[in-house]
Symmetry: C2
Subunit: 441 residues, 2 copies
């Protein structure tokens, strides 16, 4: 019976960890002692060193780095100011993979659109040579579903503007806050679109520009963005294991991503994810030896396009995986879960449902696999489980300078660790399959 | 009987203004069409032009600018990064009047203090040649009283550090938020202290630096701040009036300040103040002619040290003032008031108490005069009244890039306008003293 275990795990002292718990301790350490961890940079390399040392110190087996190469983009100068009709500076951040202006910037007229659809519908002649501005609004949702809708403006909008001949594109940040911090994130130059300067205005700046445009006078902006691609560099996945007793039973793959955007310290994205999954794996490590090996991966280079997850699947996708799960949606409480096991293993799905309920978590029979890093492994055949975090606040801070430790609520982080530990205890076939094995702690 | 008037004023349509009201309309226009308005700069001059045009269009009498000269300080580059033990960038903003580093910056060890008192108590030898860091914590208070305590770290801390031989000083922002936006504000080089580079770290950055220091290793920072003083420039007060019928009855002086810090658009500090007092004065203008002249002043150059208020008192301090009042604490609702009239004119104080109560405002018999700009006029003998705004959220945004229009709640702004209108109706001796005069609207 796992229910009392789950309840006990909510108290960090039950894990033998110092309050506010091992999970918090890891994300505090990573964000303080490394800070931002842009993929492919020396900061991400320092983070790998930090992770290896920490995971070894915690007693995990088979701790190692699996390196891979990647193209690296880095931020440069980024400034914008309204030249006319109302001179003033605007705050923005280049999108990942943004093209660059000349060092001295460009000056062009703004053409505004309320949505991506409106931009798509515009004739090229309305856009050519101008700076496109898309001012859409994004609302907060608990399940994060609004990111799918509005994220598209960031993913695809710049390529669409480029194809229409725009000089540059500014989008309202894909975010739900009202602070002067911009939300970066990767964009893609699909279908051979030529990279143009592409940046996100903070939400207050986007609203300001929208008000200025509403005055009906031509609006001219001077924009300087000097990011660059610096060639091929090394990233890597950090791997650690809790060895199982039965190699044929398949691997339980869990993790988060070690890289972050460069503006904040990557506390909620995704220091929390590696911390939560590591703390949960540690409680399995400290308990009876599980039947299945628990493989913990701190994936590299998720932000530029899930490169670590692809590298992992290339190397390990054909190994038998009993389950794959990722934590990459902040640090707020888990409110529901879903899993392919609903169809493939209803008894275990029922056990998970019962065991997670005391933590306030309900099953979602209509859920999907979640997590960019485990997606390629799931595509290769691994069953999946998704522990869904409450995303109501997530897009207030996502990809901004505001992604810092203070945004993490230690109590909600502990609930995450308890849920992951409960899930692992069931799916690693550990605690219940070997009830008579003496505990090592 | 004024009580029904106060209630009616809460509805903007009762003022004949388009929803969300004239007050909101003014602060929206000023912050959008001018933006930041640093004292003594061309931006503040544009704001004066904007104000004169708007006040004339609203129908005020005697609209004019009263210019004065002032020394002007402007922000330069400002960057900081931890060099060792954990390399990472920090976000900060120079304090007004900060000294400058060389263009290439300085590198020095950090010495940290939890409070201004701890810095004061430190021997010079502990500080000499180092970068002082004061990491105090500021809590939100409804009455803003914590600003008195913690503001001292900004006002006086840099001079104290300078006298002890510090190379520079970084303070935790005087703010109650957790965002990567720094709180600037003026500092003073008292007692001949030599200006040194002085800046505020954002609250998350200050907490990060505190955590890094807590690791116990020497912490080295590279700091670049290149602000400069650009000599004497012109500022000015914008004056407008609602002429009264009785010149001997004294002036009712109200207003806020037109200048702002350069980081935000000065919506809550103090676009709201000039907007609230203007909207209230406009309702008097549109009503029966008051007995006393209502003089509305948009004071210039408050932020560098209340220069507009001093210039006003020099020019007008000897004119008879029936009352002086300023709005300069954001846009949230007025929750209490206090006035010298409690002692000098108890019947009028009682009438104010009764008239403001329907707006949820209570009297505070222990209050003080409020407002840097009217302080010199009060010191010259003018009676005072203070309508106290709820400051619980004010220091989340005060002096930061986040001081933008979206922080203003139109409903609370309307309550402010209603309260000021009620106060003016009583103290201008208008509506009740001339009940038989035909209304012009």
């Amino acid at each position: 019976m796992l229910l009392p275990l789950a309840a006990a795990l909510l108290s960090s002292s039950a894990l033998g960890a110092p309050s506010p718990g091992l999970g918090y301790d890891i994300v505090e350490g990573l964000t303080t002692e490394v800070g931002q961890r842009l993929a492919g940079t020396e900061a991400e390399a320092r983070a790998r060193d930090w992770a290896v040392a920490r995971l070894k110190a915690l007693g995990f087996a088979n701790v190692h780095v699996e390196p891979f190469d990647m193209p690296v983009w880095v931020r440069g100068a980024e400034t914008a100011e309204v030249i006319a009709p109302f001179p003033q500076k605007l705050v923005l951040a280049a999108l990942g993979n943004s093209g660059a202006t000349p060092d001295g910037g460009i000056t062009a007229e703004i053409v505004g659109f309320p949505s991506l659809d409106a931009l798509k519908a515009a004739p090229d002649s309305a856009v050519k040579g101008k700076i496109v501005f898309v001012w859409h609004r994004m609302m907060a949702t608990q399940d994060g579903s609004s990111y799918g809708t509005y994220g598209l403006i960031r993913f695809a909008g710049p390529a669409i503007a480029s194809k229409k001949g725009a000089a540059a594109i500014l989008i309202r940040s894909i975010g739900t806050d009202h602070h002067r911090v911009a939300h970066t994130g990767v964009t893609n130059w699909l279908e051979g679109a030529r990279p143009i300067p592409a940046a996100a205005l903070t939400v207050p700046d986007a609203e300001q520009l929208e008000r200025i445009l509403a005055r009906g006078k031509p609006v001219t902006i001077h924009l300087t963005l000097t990011p660059k691609t610096v060639g091929t560099r090394q990233s890597g996945n950090v791997v650690a294991e809790v060895p199982g007793t039965d190699p044929s039973a398949g691997i339980v793959l869990i993790g988060g991503h070690i890289d972050s955007w460069d503006l904040g310290t990557g506390a909620i994205d995704d220091g929390a994810g590696v911390a939560i999954t590591t703390a949960a794996a540690k409680s399995i490590l400290d308990g009876p030896r599980p039947r299945r090996t628990v493989r913990l991966v701190w994936f590299g280079a998720e932000e530029p396009g899930g490169l670590g997850g692809k590298a992992y699947a290339e190397a390990h996708g054909k190994e038998p995986h009993a389950i794959a799960a990722e934590s990459d949606f902040g640090a707020d409480r888990i409110w529901r879960f879903s899993s392919q096991l609903m169809k493939t293993d209803p008894p275990t799905y029922a056990r998970l449902t019962a065991a997670l309920a005391p933590l306030g978590i309900t099953k979602n029979d209509k859920g999907d696999a979640d997590g960019t890093d485990v997606e390629p492994t799931v595509a290769a055949g691994a069953p999946w489980i998704s522990l869904n975090q409450d995303g109501t606040r997530y897009f207030d801070w996502h990809h901004t300078p505001d992604d810092t430790l203070d945004k993490i609520d230690p109590a909600q982080l502990r609930q995450n660790v308890a849920a992951w530990t409960t899930m692992l205890a069931i799916l690693s076939g550990g605690i219940e399959s070997q009830p008579k094995q003496p505990k090592r702690r």
